[in-house]
């Protein structure tokens, strides 16, 4: 008997894994019901592949200046050339290659903003929701203050302190997104902390950190995931906006917003240098938002039953 008996932990682990797989399958079932969400996911997948394999996909070096080929239009219009499919900018740099390399900057910037604000937001939100009292008041008032100024303006002011540049722009934007994660985490932490399973866990002798991160946090995740997806698309937009204002990535880095800013004077003579980077931003952000909509519907139990 003792040979065949499964240890309790193993049984628990096995069960936990199957529950996770089951949840994942259920999530996919509801997510894939929305065709647009799947389209968004596929598109984002393509952008990620493009960013990962940029050196192999891009036809040219993004900073190589082919001076004799400056301001060449895209290949389908008159005077265009197949070797510069989306045309070239004022210095003869290949727009397609710059946009492909730019996807690296935009995606990484978006990811870092979300990860930083998510981690900081979860930590502060859990502390506020678990300890309550003066700690909670202090944290929440700071968050209210951040929210009382438009995000872009707050980011601008922070960049004025830190100095312009992509990295500083990411920090600044992460700070402006943090309050949303703090509020969400705190709200769900408060409602979860009152539930029986948390009390039971506390009675069983679980420590504070274990209660906060292992008992409470996993049950607050659904709204956080949706918010993180939405923040990801907003982060890409805001990083591009700061780049456009000259406060984010600095030329010659091919960040999408910076590309639009450096070619802004050419909007009449060489409009493609402005239209394609913008289109890249729009499509990427749109795809993420489509995905986010699908995720929200799949994770929201109220929507499932209707």
């Amino acid at each position: 008997m003792s040979d065949t008996a499964i240890k309790p932990e193993e049984r628990l682990n096995g069960k936990r894994e199957s529950v996770f797989l089951h949840e994942l399958r259920e999530f996919w079932f509801y997510f894939s019901e929305s065709r647009l969400a799947v389209v968004g996911l596929v598109f984002i997948g393509l952008v990620v592949v493009m960013a990962l394999f940029a050196p192999w996909i891009a036809p040219h070096d993004p900073s190589e200046q082919y001076r004799q080929f400056a301001e060449i239009p895209p290949f389908w219009s008159e005077g265009g050339s197949a070797s510069f499919p989306l045309g070239t900018d004022y210095a003869g740099r290949d727009m397609l290659s710059r946009i492909i390399y730019g996807s690296r900057l935009s995606l990484i910037a978006g990811c870092i903003v979300v990860i930083v604000s998510l981690i900081a937001g979860i930590a502060l939100g859990l502390v506020a929701g678990y300890f309550r009292g003066i700690v909670e008041t202090a944290i929440m008032r700071v968050m209210d203050t951040i929210l009382s100024v438009p995000a872009l303006l707050m980011a601008l002011v922070l960049v004025a302190i830190l100095g312009p540049g992509l990295e500083n722009a990411m920090i600044a934007i992460a700070v402006t997104y943090m309050p949303y994660f703090v509020r969400l985490t705190r709200a769900s932490a408060i409602s979860e902390a009152a539930k029986d399973y948390v009390v039971a866990s506390k009675v069983a002798g679980a420590g504070t950190l274990r209660l906060m991160f292992i008992a409470i946090l996993p049950n607050c995740m659904a709204p956080l995931i949706v918010q993180a997806t939405m923040s990801f698309s907003n982060a890409i937009l805001d990083v591009a906006a700061l780049g456009f204002l000259g406060m984010g990535a600095q030329p010659p880095r091919p960040e999408w917003g910076t590309l639009i800013a450096e070619n802004r004077d050419l909007i009449l003579s060489a409009p493609w240098t402005v239209t394609f980077p913008g289109l890249a931003i729009l499509l990427t952000v749109l795809a993420i938002n489509l995905m986010g909509d699908g995720m929200r519907d799949a994770l929201d139990p109220k929507m499932k039953r209707s």
Binding site: V142, T145, S148, V149, L156, I260, N289
Partner: protein
Amino acid sequence: MFGFLLHRLSVLVPIFIGVTLVAFSFIRVLPGDPVETLAGERGLSPERHAELLTHLGLDKPVWEQYLIYVGNILQGDFGRSFITNKPVLTEFLELFPATVELAFCAMVFAIVVGLPAGLVAATRRGTIFDQTLMGISLTGYSMPIFWWGLLLIIFFSNTLGWTPVSGRISFLYDVPRVTGFLLIDSLLGDEKGAFLSALRHLILPSVVLGTIPLAIIARQTRSAMLEVLGEDYIRTAKAKGLSPTRIIGVHALRNAMITVVTVIGLQGGALLGGAILTETIFSWPGIGKWMIFSVSSRDYFVVQSGLLLIALCIMTVNLLIDLLYGVINPRILHQR
């Protein structure tokens, strides 16, 4: 109502203190020597440095500096710009109407288009029409507006020549300043084409600034309507045999408006953020362009006080929205 107002005001006090702390710390955390930063001079002699230190009050303890700062603000002294040497408050008040005018027109555009679009989409849920509208609105929501503005300039100003590229009004007109709102001032003046010129200058910036609020309003109106249409009292209204127009227009819309008004109110802050981009693209002489110019030219008093003034405006708008919300939904007045 009065208790409700007091309650809302009491929430604003800590935020006001928070914002003043942020603005106060801003100059003190800038890299470099605060005296040189505040004086806008480099390479000061030690005597001049000491003189300025006392003059600017930087030799006092930090908490005292903060109290003096807040005291000045409460008396309406927001410091002076390094560049123009004008009081920041004067500059702010000069430029503020331009931004309000722009934001107001953007909001009108967003509501006039977004609200009906959301209503129609909700009443035809699941049809191609609904899906198309929501697709367009999600695209609007995902729009990098600085790019959108440039596209509209290429198309409407350059290709079609319908609208001007930048500014608030044609140089041909010299409208005397009365309210600061050109649409009003130009009507008060005697020049014939001034109003039309001001209006034409407003169209593209308003559309650009209004795009994201429009998308949000359309989506929220739709989902609020869908929720309300599933309520029991709508079924009762249907059972009574009321016409669909009456059910949607009277019973559903009023209740859906509660959500929608909140959403519209929340756009106030977002509009000012968007104004930074819109005003930059269209060279619109408002608060947003002023702030970005001050940041890039290191006019720190303007950045500091501009931040504070903008936050105060948004707090006021939010307070007004809360009160309006109380009027639309009297239930909220009795909750705390």
